[in-house]
Symmetry: C2
Subunit: 477 residues, 2 copies
Amino acid sequence: MNSANSIESIFHPRSIAVIGASEDEQKLSSSFLGSLLAAEFEGELYAVNAKGEKSFGIKIYPSLNDIPGPVDHVIISIPAEVIPSIIDDCVAKGVKTAHIFSSGFSESGTERGRQLEELIVRKAVEGGIRLIGPNCIGIYCPAARVPLCGMPSVGESGTVSFLSQSGGNAERLCDMARKRGVKFNKGISFGNAADVNALDILGYYAVDPETKTIGGYLEGVRDGEKLFQLLKDTSREKPVVIWKGGQSSVGVETAASHTGSLAGSSEVWTAALKQSGVVKVDSLEELADTLLAFQDMQPTAGKRAVVVAVTAGSGGISVAAADAFSDVGLEMLPIRGETKEKLDTFVPAAGAILRNPLDISVAGGNPDMLRKILEAIDSDPYTDFLAVYFNVDSALRYYWQARGLSPIEAVFAEFKKKATKPFVVILQPTGNEDDRAAMETNLARMGIPVYHTVERAGKAIANFTQYWEYRHGLSEA
Amino acid sequence: MNSANSIESIFHPRSIAVIGASEDEQKLSSSFLGSLLAAEFEGELYAVNAKGEKSFGIKIYPSLNDIPGPVDHVIISIPAEVIPSIIDDCVAKGVKTAHIFSSGFSESGTERGRQLEELIVRKAVEGGIRLIGPNCIGIYCPAARVPLCGMPSVGESGTVSFLSQSGGNAERLCDMARKRGVKFNKGISFGNAADVNALDILGYYAVDPETKTIGGYLEGVRDGEKLFQLLKDTSREKPVVIWKGGQSSVGVETAASHTGSLAGSSEVWTAALKQSGVVKVDSLEELADTLLAFQDMQPTAGKRAVVVAVTAGSGGISVAAADAFSDVGLEMLPIRGETKEKLDTFVPAAGAILRNPLDISVAGGNPDMLRKILEAIDSDPYTDFLAVYFNVDSALRYYWQARGLSPIEAVFAEFKKKATKPFVVILQPTGNEDDRAAMETNLARMGIPVYHTVERAGKAIANFTQYWEYRHGLSEA
């Protein structure tokens, strides 16, 4: 079995045993079992603990060996000192993959922790088991109905796969990005990376036909040269977006105590990621924003943006959009020629400024005008992509109070089907989050990427076009 | 009457007439009347229109002159060409201030627009009227129950006053910052600044005893030298936070067509604002974030931060916080000495990393431990301020599912009363926005500034300490 195959099987266990699941369902060690049940994992599910009768209604077995059927995957959440003997049990039982949630290994900085980590890896490797962690929250695979640790649902399966050295950041990414409409194919938090590491996962995602975009949170790796070669090979085929934690000197020390990583200098990483064609991002939000762009937008290396601001009081936001987009290297050419003439025929002069950004307050209350504007820009030969700023609060206040925003959403739905160029919508949170979030959810379902500020939209689009420019450069070379 | 007095009276009209309010209550021109009624403006309120009987149940007068009582303030929302004759009516009626919402003046870039603007200013000045705008949404004063254009409530009165060249940005700031717990004292959107301009407003806010912090969105001014002198004088007394729109070349052009401003080069503004002791911010979010810090935190020029991450999966966010805080020049010294010893007595070694950031997952489920940690850091001699990262989703999932977060909120409430140092809470939006927003609202009511990401918290705190460092430098000199 080659490495990619052994990783593939990690995500599709037919049976899982949660070692450490207890009668106290509030305990962190029980949460894996609870969330596998809530997410309706379709394989066999077992609980193991030295004591106790049932957890979430499932019989607790005193040991792995007592389980009648085969066990593909175990989730281990018990004190570190006990884990070596449990790995022996796993080998005896024929377990294929073991995910160790527990900490107390190399990340502790103690000699004992390092010894324990070496011991469990040796036992696992000799016994033919792939080890995930320790000190991590393990695997996520919507198609197999395996939820990320503690999450009560798997979400819709999609084309974005992620890897994360941090469990907390994996969980936050999953929570936040799913809400934004990102559909994950697979995910993994691999903590100390004692066995399965960033290279294994990236190598697998690189060849996995279901994975179209890769997102990652990394704190450091042992073999930087290999990693960057792999990233370079991978990003020739599909976009790789990396958030690198531990860029400051305090961050480096924190990363060391977090996952036992040698974080490396910020300058080295930045240069190496750039040379590898990787899209480097600097926060969780930017990671989610950028994955969303890759998921939903058709490729373009063009940087010529048109921004359309279509709600009352669009002047100030037009200035902000011009600043934010220019700041990240996007171009904003004036609207001209036939497109300008076309717009002049149906956009009233009062309350509209037909530059770029197009400041057309009245279109927020006029779905037909909005539709015609979008179509005119889509067919403009000097435009590569389109961003629409829509203020839900002011649109509801001035135009749609009693009626709701479905006429506007219908315009976006229709345009999404017809559009020949990528487009995004910017819905800024202000006072009325419920209506804004509902519109975001509706647009996300149509496959329209929604951003929360002009600055974040600009950054995500710039990251996106930068990658396609890199790919374009490769094919020219 | 000196200039500050004439500006003071702008915010406290005893009677308002809305010129252009119509029977069609959905029309933008009617929204001023609707929102004054919804916000329960306590003075006399009149509607004026050449035709129509009633608007929002209020009698429509055919002209200003037909109104029986005196009129302090008018809001004008009719086509530009008609406005000069309305200003004549205002003079005849003894109106004190006129706010012109309508556009079609100098910002249009036409000769006719410029002429009209000159005409109305001349008429107003000769007639003793202060003119706000044109092309703006006017005044906001919670104490006088005057809402910002179209907004149905005034919010609680506080200590932060703002000025904005853009109506849209004023509205967005007001919407967003109020939701975050910023309490405004006064606000004004002054558009083209044909008469009342940034200098007038700033000069008034500088001496207004009710205004403790000033926030502003500016696109450009006619007399830069005077402005920067005034900013310098003002920021010796109270913090001034400025978002400057039109920093890119496209942004400059957009600003010109938006409010007819000469935006000036980005470099000149940045240098001049810095020399004036002004806190310069680069987005609407950063403006709101920074105003919140000034409103709620006791002054400190110290940059030594301690971050406490107290929910499951805090390792990754600790790395991110270390990076984000270091990136903006905040210092993160290791926890040491007596404070470290104190923490060691009650924080369990497993699942806690007692560095800085303090990564104490278990405290998210243990209010008593959280309280003792906060108190220990507050009395640490090497710490200037404290930031607590709390993940609402994971806290609810692992600890508080059935019980809710009130025990944690109670710890923050108690600590806010006792704390000798400034502190902020970071509540990152992930999947469960309702519970997160509810906790944010509760903490905001306690006067605790809440930020949405470690990056934004770091930036706001850095802006805040930078100002107090500037003030400290002045007093030393």
